[in-house]
């Protein structure tokens, strides 16, 4: 699986040739440079490490500057390693851009979901809560019973309870590429993509 690092810019819609509206997410993807090529002999597996968004020296810490210098590369804000399931002839310094995708191709897109804070069980686990009327008092959105009595006299591990929601790694599969603009490094994909605007997303294509 190889892919690109991108930035979610927002959503809009376009019309297809039948005149139907398609909701699209606009992603600025690449160009990404191969900074480090890992191989089976030395590292035990095949992968490429990609860099996205060139930045000045003041934005990168010293250990990372050393890493970039070792591979004779400019400095990048974002780094991500993509495992290669099948061996591919890719060298360091190679640059990937949106040209690697084709229209109607199906991608897997990974991002970080929007933070929802400390959420209750209705929002977090789709519990039903209680009735708003018929004598229910003070527990409209509660979880109800969380277990039994003297046996087992504890709450089972993994019980769905309120807690922090969001800011998780979320992947969506089968995301269709609607349009590619190689000049502006932009990919339009059908439907929504996890994360907020300007969030970093990883676009992977099946090999």
């Amino acid at each position: 699986m190889i892919g690109l690092i991108g930035k979610k810019l927002g959503m809009t819609q376009i019309f297809d040739e039948n005149g139907d509206r398609i909701p699209v997410t606009v992603i600025q993807a690449g160009p990404c440079r191969v900074i480090h090529r890992k191989n089976k002999e030395k590292h035990g597996y095949d992968s490429i490490q990609l860099g996205f968004e060139e930045v000045g020296e003041e934005k990168v810490n010293k250990p990372l500057i050393g890493h970039f210098k070792k591979h004779n590369s400019p400095l990048y804000r974002h780094l991500k390693e993509f495992r290669l399931k099948v061996y591919k002839d890719i060298e360091e310094k190679e640059i990937f851009d949106v040209g690697m995708f084709t229209q109607n191709e199906v991608l897997k897109i990974t991002g970080t979901s929007k933070g929802k804070g400390f959420s209750g069980v209705m929002k977090r686990h789709n519990f039903h809560g209680f009735k708003a009327t018929h004598g229910v008092h003070e527990s409209y959105r509660g979880p109800g019973s969380i277990g039994q009595c003297a046996t087992p006299s504890r709450v089972f591990k993994g019980k769905k309870m309120p807690g922090h929601q969001g800011v998780d790694k979320v992947s969506v599969t089968n995301v269709k590429v609607v349009k590619i603009d190689q000049k502006k490094n932009i990919v339009l994909v059908k439907g929504a993509v996890p994360g907020h605007i300007n969030g970093i997303v990883y676009l992977r294509k099946e090999l």
Binding site: G10, M11, T12, Q13, F15, G19, K184
Partner: protein, 115 residues
């Protein structure tokens, strides 16, 4: 955000007749039935215009056999063949949702004089 607004700019329709909320219009809309294509005309009062750029839509309301029917059209849809303004209306608000509850005389829209 600018890049997002640039998307689909070439699909924005410049050729359609301009109309305002309160106008009575005829929308000639292409409908596909299998392989056949025909034009359907929907006539009514524009009660709402919303959205921006490529995503704009407008709502047309008509009374069909005594029942109110509303239809939402994407303004920039390539399926709109043309729009005719039948009557120019003078209204004092942007959304005419009060027409849904109004009956008889109250459900009228004054004519806008054009000089």
């Amino acid at each position: 955000m600018d890049i997002v607004q640039e998307i689909g700019k070439d699909q924005i329709r410049q050729d359609l007749t301009e109309f305002r909320v309160g106008d009575t219009i005829k929308v000639h809309y292409k409908i596909k039935e299998g392989a056949k294509e025909r034009i359907q005309v929907f006539q009514g009062i524009v009660i709402q215009k919303k959205g921006a750029q490529i995503s704009q839509t407008f709502t047309v309301r008509k009374i069909s056999n005594g029942i109110g029917v509303e239809r939402i059209f994407p303004l920039n849809s390539p399926n709109i063949q043309k729009i005719d303004v039948v009557r120019f209306g003078r209204v004092r608000r942007a959304k005419l949702f009060y027409l849904r509850n109004a009956k008889g005389k109250a459900a009228r829209v004054k004519e806008r004089k054009r000089y």
